[in-house]
């Protein structure tokens, strides 16, 4: 297990080292002029110089501030609006064209408008990031919501699960893989837009440091490339962090599990986190309501990433599994029919 990890990461490090070595070699051989493109060692020295002062960390903080705020606003708006649009077929068909239109607008084209509205400020940065993130993601959310399994949808209706609970326990989990794909793109796009806004618009951060170093002339090029390297490292770290978060949050989903089986270890503790029981019990928790109704019992500290399946005789999710231990029927009817346990 460990051996495979070492192997993969060792290979990656070797490729990285080879690329850096090639860079240094080309500079040393004079193929690249050092006053036009600094050598790897000059850039690394400049990076070290920046990192040992407060300059680099201040810039990274300012960039991450714009990135995080913009991502937060864009994602929240896309989740809300995407769900509302996705749940209504008429709304979806009406607005999808407009959304596709806005999605195609490059942020750089609206940057002047952002500048005129907010100037070279943090607001300008996160507004542009939110704009850039919103349109592609809202489409993903629409698709995700519309991909809700009809049986799950019907079951939800029958069980009278509505409103926020329906959103959190049925729609969101069902759309989660779509949203995750959209988010993965959004994380990267947000960083790119944020740095472009700093570079061209003039908000403070990594992009602004690149601009100042570029304008300062050849003697400051190592600093410029140091900040470009920082932008790249930030991108890798943020994408990596997202992948880890996604793996944790969506570990129950097929895409993650098959990725696991293809990948390194098969002993992934996937059964740990998630056990949802849909219990149909007569005269349940809500007094005064006739007939059976649903009670959702979450038996583990689980994120709301769960999928409801009502009929286990015909598993609608390919990976649905009945856990015989808990799937016993409390009412004494057919085992497994009322009490559906989902261990995807």
């Amino acid at each position: 297990m460990l051996g495979r990890y070492t192997h993969v990461y060792g290979l990656r490090l070797a490729v990285l080292a080879a690329a850096l070595g090639l860079w240094q070699g080309l500079s040393a051989a004079g193929v690249i002029r050092s006053d036009e493109f600094p050598s790897m060692s000059q850039t690394a020295a400049a990076l070290w110089g920046q990192a040992s002062g407060s300059s680099l960390w201040g810039a990274v903080g300012e960039t991450l501030e714009g990135w995080a705020l913009g991502l937060l606003i864009g994602v929240a708006a896309a989740l809300l609006i995407g769900t509302l649009i996705g749940m209504n077929g008429f709304a979806y068909r009406s607005v999808i064209g407009v959304i596709e239109f806005f999605k195609a607008i490059p942020v750089i084209a609206i940057l002047p408008i952002g500048l005129v509205l907010w100037g070279a400020t943090l607001t300008m940065k996160f507004a542009l990031v939110a704009f850039a993130v919103f349109w592609p993601l809202v489409i993903q959310v629409c698709y995700g919501v519309r991909s809700l399994d009809p049986v799950a949808a019907d079951t939800t209706t029958v069980l009278q699960v509505r409103g926020a609970r329906k959103f959190l326990t049925v729609i969101l989990p069902s759309a989660a893989p779509f949203i995750a794909t959209g988010l993965r793109v959004a994380v990267a796009v947000a960083l790119i837009v944020d740095i472009i806004a700093e570079l061209i618009g003039g908000g403070t951060g990594v992009g602004e440091r690149i601009l100042v170093a570029e304008n300062a002339g050849p003697s400051a090029y190592p600093v410029m490339y140091a900040y470009i390297v920082v932008a790249g490292i930030l991108g890798v770290l943020l994408a990596g962090a997202f992948t880890v978060a996604e793996r944790y949050a969506l570990h129950w989903h097929e895409s993650q599990r098959s990725a696991k089986t293809e990948g390194q270890n098969r002993d992934y503790p996937e059964r740990e986190g998630l056990t949802l029981v849909v219990q149909l019990s007569p005269g349940g928790t809500t007094p005064g309501r006739a007939g059976s109704h649903a009670r959702l019992a979450i038996r583990r500290p689980v994120p709301p990433l769960v999928v409801l399946v009502g009929r286990l005789e015909e598993p609608v999710l390919p990976a649905a599994v009945v856990d015989p231990e808990v799937a016993m029927d409390p009412v004494g009817d057919r085992p497994g029919s009322r009490r559906a346990l989902l261990v995807p």
């Binding site: 500048l115 005129v116 070279a120 400020t121 100042v212 300062a216 002339g217």
Partner: protein, 348 residues
Amino acid sequence: MTSDSRSSRYAVGVLLAATAVAAAACSSSPSSSSTPASTTTSSASSANASGSASAPATVTNVTLGYVPYSDDASLFYAQSSGIFKKHGLNVTLVAQASPVAVEASMASGTEQFGFITTPVLINLNSKGVSVKCVSSVDGSEPSNPANDSTVLVAAKGSGITSVKDLAGKNVAEVQLTSLNSLAVEILAKKAGIDPASIHQVAIPFPQMAAALAQGRVQAAVIVAPFADTATSEGATVLTHPNVDLFPNGTVTCLDAMGSYLSANPAIAAEFRAAMNESIAYSQAHEAVVKETLVKGLGLTPAVAAKQILATNWNPALNTASITMIENYMKQFGVITSEPPAASMVWNP
């Protein structure tokens, strides 16, 4: 043909910038005048006007957008030495990529002062957006080539020895809408060749040396310190366009919007006084002022000391030179209306 495509591209760029700025001037000036910060500043300014002008009691927060380059030394010095503070100004400096970005930010109301080049100043005013020079950045254009940092260079082996030889050649410009591209057209006309026969190519300063060496362009209008790279590779200096054409001229300045200036004359007066004081000090202590470039541009002290500051250290704004540049812009079809140069310089 080249001229047509160039001017049409130009027109689009100008229109975009002008519409953006104009739109903001309409939409955001009421909101900007009602922000608490502006209210404070205007009350502070009236207090200053009624009280003693030399020692302002209150501090006014202003933001200034600048394009980072060596000639900002006097501006950096006014900030670091406390000259702005002495004049009651707490200035926040914001680095931006171009004067157009600076002007757009000024239109948003988040910046009160900013760096501008004279062609952009003229463009905006001819489109009905009132912006005015308040002070020079570090004086006017020098009249001595030794003090100038902008050069027209010809690539090694290009066979170009004078402006006359530029016909049919590719010439690199930082922007096709800039003072530099205008200067090349004027120089061509004066040398007796058709300006349209020169193929002007937009290339950023940092990449010009490589473009010259690779033969992608045969000449370039390039500034120090990038010019040093080009000349070290064998490029030859043909002329100093700005010294030839606009000696002692105002080619850049620090400006503000007309609406801001009429509402805040006392702040503008303090700003101009502070800049003039810093420029006067810079003339006498150039080496000291260049040290601000270490922090301001991230240069090493040795490199900072070697920078050429392209200035005659005269802080007066040269209205005649603005008129001259405006006439050239009209002549080359860049602008259609010619607002008087006096309206582009702030005179309280």
